[in-house]
Symmetry: C2
Subunit: 249 residues, 2 copies
């Protein structure tokens, strides 16, 4: 029996998120189906991040166990011939049998993409949130910095969160303009349900002048979801990087 | 009666191209339907470029005539409330009653997008052609330059072309690497059926070393479709700019 780790990229547009559901297509469901087909045995992956419906990924992580003799490195190629075209396994490798992607120290990086022009071309609509009025990126960047560090992010979690604690650590936030886009990059050791989308919604409100400077810090201190900005749409969000700390593979 | 000019952006993924068809969704068909709804009269647009199935546009052009009293500049906003989300009218304005988008001197610019990494994220698949092996952009740029000017582009036209002459003028070609992408930008006063896609397919063949330096010029001189490279896939192609010459509006 060996444990195989997969780096999985996907277009979340046509899925009800990562997590397995009975009556809706999910990334986890498609992976289980493709792996079971491939290895000829019932396989259920353990995923690292349960991304929401419509959220994309360049690299989410999953492990599974198998007795199959196929070399771990070949699994990605074989899987890609079976998976739908909007899910792709970027690489696969063997890990220790007790390696668990959710019980391992990690830094995850999400990118939130805003298309910041009066008119958005339709070719952008699935991967960016359209904000017509010009965003003040300098003030967004300044506001964002107060979120870096270990804080209680209760104000930046969905009221439906089931987490035991709402304390999390953000290691870095960066807001920048790239041509017609404004991109918000957030790295942290863990995130609450909707956390990056609420951070994006809050920074956008300040960047549009709907909220005064200092709004983000005040929201953080209030420990109340109602004090932060709206949850920005899922389609602008992409999980772009996954780093396992203290692991050499 | 006034004539209104529309700049139309679209995601071509779910359409059988621009041109009206009886049993398939097309950009022209959707525009006619939305305009007829909006103005309460039967309207048929005259389009500028009949893009292929799967080809995208930031700005294709169309005109139509109407007696409606709505100011021409307001048409774009009103239309966007009726059109499907993958078609958007960027602007609308009144033009002279005899202005015809295909009988006016123009320079059109197309961009062909290649994703040039071993693995392509699924979020790129609708708007880029995946070339896994590293392209030699310097040699592609050099080969491309021999196409600039007025030439008989018979080798770079689909054998199904119905054009009276295959002489066309390319005003500029540019090939460049932008991060993970290689982009080919082609400007010209007119293009033959599949011309930009065959140019892209030919330059890719040379950039991969499948064809020797000089292949593009030899193909041009041969006046035979079989002497050029393959037709690159439609999804990588986008009509990005439309300039009407000798017009002040």
């Amino acid at each position: 029996m060996k444990r195989i780790l997969l780096c999985v990229a996907y277009d979340g547009t046509n899925y009800s998120g990562w997590q397995l559901q009975d009556n809706a297509p999910t990334i986890e469901g498609e992976l289980n189906k493709a792996l079971s087909d491939l290895h000829g045995e019932e396989i259920a992956v353990i995923g690292a991040s349960r991304t929401d419906a419509g959220v994309h990924a360049l690299c989410n992580m999953a492990v599974y166990d198998t007795d199959a003799r196929m070399p771990a490195e070949k699994v990605s190629f074989a899987l890609n011939t079976v998976l739908p075209e909007d899910i792709k396994v970027v690489w696969s490798r063997e890990v220790a049998p007790d390696f668990h992607p959710r019980h391992t120290n990690t830094v995850k990086t999400y990118e939130y993409t805003i298309y910041n022009e009066p008119i958005m071309p339709p070719t952008e609509r699935l991967y960016a949130y359209h904000v017509k009025d010009k965003l003040d990126v300098a003030i967004m960047e300044k506001e964002a910095k107060c979120l870096v560090g270990e804080h209680d992010f209760k104000s930046f979690a969905s009221v439906y969160t089931t987490a035991e604690t709402t304390v999390r650590t953000i290691t870095d936030i960066d807001v920048r303009r790239e041509g017609s886009y404004v991109k918000i990059t957030v790295s942290g050791t863990g995130f609450l349900y909707n956390m990056v989308r609420i951070i994006a919604g809050t920074l956008i409100d300040v960047g549009l002048g709907r909220r005064a400077e200092g709004f983000t810090k005040a929201a953080l201190d209030a420990l109340d979801r109602r004090s932060a900005g709206p949850t920005a749409p899922a389609r602008g969000l992409m999980l772009i990087k996954y780093e396992f700390l203290d692991q050499c593979f």
